[in-house]
């Protein structure tokens, strides 16, 4: 790729071609607010908050869709730009119900960020909000269209990334809103609840139902790990607060899934904290299971295994490993059967 150099806010920047002005600016520590742009859904040009001025070009240009060219001179914070950005944030604030106090999106909300950076507390435009009922029909996702900023990211995610093709934009003008199928409640639509839309939503319009009130984003630790379901091996973050997983999000910067998950990976985590989890070793005594200490359980098991090995030979013992647990655990299991029991009678359900 060809090297180019351009000037942003008086700063000479060297980069390579085929990048957007937005990305070049961000790579060089220049803040440009965005709402509809997301690296995974690419340029959108809808919210218009990322506008910049370019010498020689009329009007304002949206930096998310403007290709950086050699010799370009870009300004990102002129009076006109700031005035436009402020107007956009105020338009959102007066057309939607953006109340951060108990919003699940608070802390990760990109509208909140933009308002903060522009120093906007409230809109000076008249209040145009409509009271749209909150869609709670989906078992996993809460849709509060009062907080929707029509950025199209959920639609792009649903149609271009996950290709489930459930969402689209219905109606027009200020009545324009995201619809599921033929304007059905999400829970009655053909939505397969992959949650791609939730992950891409810049505000609190789409949130995880199970995570509600469980913890603010800044209160959680995020641990990157591998999904425990199918063989795709999606990379994801477990959001943890007080030793509890409260949310799962896809890891956007790594193979193989680049942020996508399915219903199981994204929402099937709470079995971890099920009250039905086994908490103590159990021994069957007179047909009933009784809680015992690890010492007792292990002593009993080891003794019994040694006894059977002695009386019936190692071949009378078989082990079934687990396609669900780690390589390390499986290796240790295989080693145990071969080195300790002395048999190759070890298998797992590779076939189911």
């Amino acid at each position: 790729m060809k090297n180019i150099s351009l000037n942003i806010d008086g700063k000479n920047i060297k980069t390579v071609e085929r990048k957007t002005v937005l990305n070049v600016a961000r790579e060089n520590g220049i803040y440009i607010p965005t709402l509809c742009y997301h690296p995974r859904t690419k340029q959108a040009g809808k919210c218009r908050i990322c506008v910049v001025e370019v010498k020689g070009l009329p009007g304002l240009r949206v930096s998310c869709s403007l290709e950086a060219k050699d010799g370009m001179e870009v300004l990102t914070n002129t009076g006109r730009i700031i005035e436009t950005r402020k107007m956009i944030v105020e338009l959102y604030l007066s057309s939607g119900r953006h109340n951060c106090i108990s919003c699940e999106g608070s802390g990760t909300c990109e509208l909140q960020d933009a308002a903060y950076h522009l120093g906007i507390e409230k809109s000076s435009f008249p209040n145009m909000t409509k009271d749209i009922p909150i869609d709670t029909s989906s078992p996993m996702i809460i849709r509060d269209m009062n907080k929707c900023i029509q950025c199209y990211r959920c639609i792009a995610g649903c149609n271009d990334i996950a290709v489930n093709e459930v969402l689209d934009m219905g109606f027009r003008s200020s009545r324009m809103t995201v619809v599921c199928d033929t304007n059905k409640p999400m829970g009655k639509s053909s939505c397969v609840i992959c949650g791609e839309c939730v992950q891409l939503c810049p505000t609190g319009a789409l949130t995880e139902r199970k995570s509600a009130t469980k913890g603010r984003d800044w209160e959680t630790g995020k641990i990157k790990t591998t999904c425990p379901y199918c063989g795709v091996g999606c990379q994801m973050y477990l959001h943890v607060r007080d030793n509890e997983i409260i949310k799962v999000t896809g890891a956007e910067d790594t193979a193989p899934n680049y942020g996508s998950l399915c219903i199981k990976g994204r929402f099937g985590y709470d079995f971890v904290h099920s009250h039905e989890r086994l908490r103590s070793p159990l021994l069957r005594k007179n047909g009933e299971f009784a809680e015992v200490s690890w010492e007792d359980a292990l002593d009993f098991t080891a003794k019994k295994l040694l006894e059977i090995k002695k009386n019936h030979g190692p071949e009378s013992i078989v082990g079934i490993g687990c396609a669900r647990t780690t390589n390390e655990n499986n290796y240790v299991m295989m080693k145990f059967m071969r080195a300790v029991i002395g048999t190759n009678n070890v298998d797992h359900c590779a076939r189911t």
Binding site: D168, G170, D181, N183
Partner: protein, 159 residues
């Protein structure tokens, strides 16, 4: 959706370089025949053209000539934009509303009439204008509209 319309839509779908181009013609066809587009129609069209239902809804809810709600057999649309209203077009809508006893967006109890105000009909040179279903009427006045509505009531209509 009856089989006849379905066949027509399938035929439409083959007319264009890509099937989905028949979406608007298909929706307009149903609108014209049935006076509104039902949810079943939307799903059926999505099925025929193999496009997402949401996309069909997106289009059906975007265009003003398509209606997702039942409208009257005669849908009277009065232009209320600049030129027509400067030439007293707005009194037309009040008059029709009074005559039929319904407000904008309502349907008469017999299902015969509904009224809507619309943006420019492209008749600025012959303002004021109204559109009844697909028929244009230009240079309107109260007398003319009276006559039209009366003839519609009597079932003598050319459109």
């Amino acid at each position: 959706m009856d089989d006849k319309i379905k066949k027509l839509i399938i035929k439409l779908a083959h007319r264009f370089p890509r099937k989905e181009s028949a979406l608007l013609p298909a929706l307009s066809l149903i609108q014209k025949r049935n006076g509104c587009i039902t949810e079943d129609d939307l799903m059926e069209i999505a099925n025929i053209m193999n496009i997402p239902q949401a996309r069909v809804f997106s289009a059906a809810s975007f265009y003003t000539m398509l209606s997702l709600k039942k409208i009257g057999k005669y849908h009277i649309q009065v232009c209320t934009n600049v030129v027509c209203s400067l030439l007293d077009g707005e009194s037309l809508i009040d008059y029709v509303s009074g005559k039929l006893g319904i407000q904008e967006g309502e349907v008469t109890p017999d299902g015969l009439f509904s009224i809507a105000s619309v943006e420019c009909l492209g008749s600025c040179g012959h303002a004021p204008a109204i559109l009844i279903n697909m028929a244009h009427y230009e240079n309107m006045d109260l007398k003319k509209i009276d006559k039209i509505i009366d003839s519609l009531k009597k079932g003598e209509w050319r459109g």
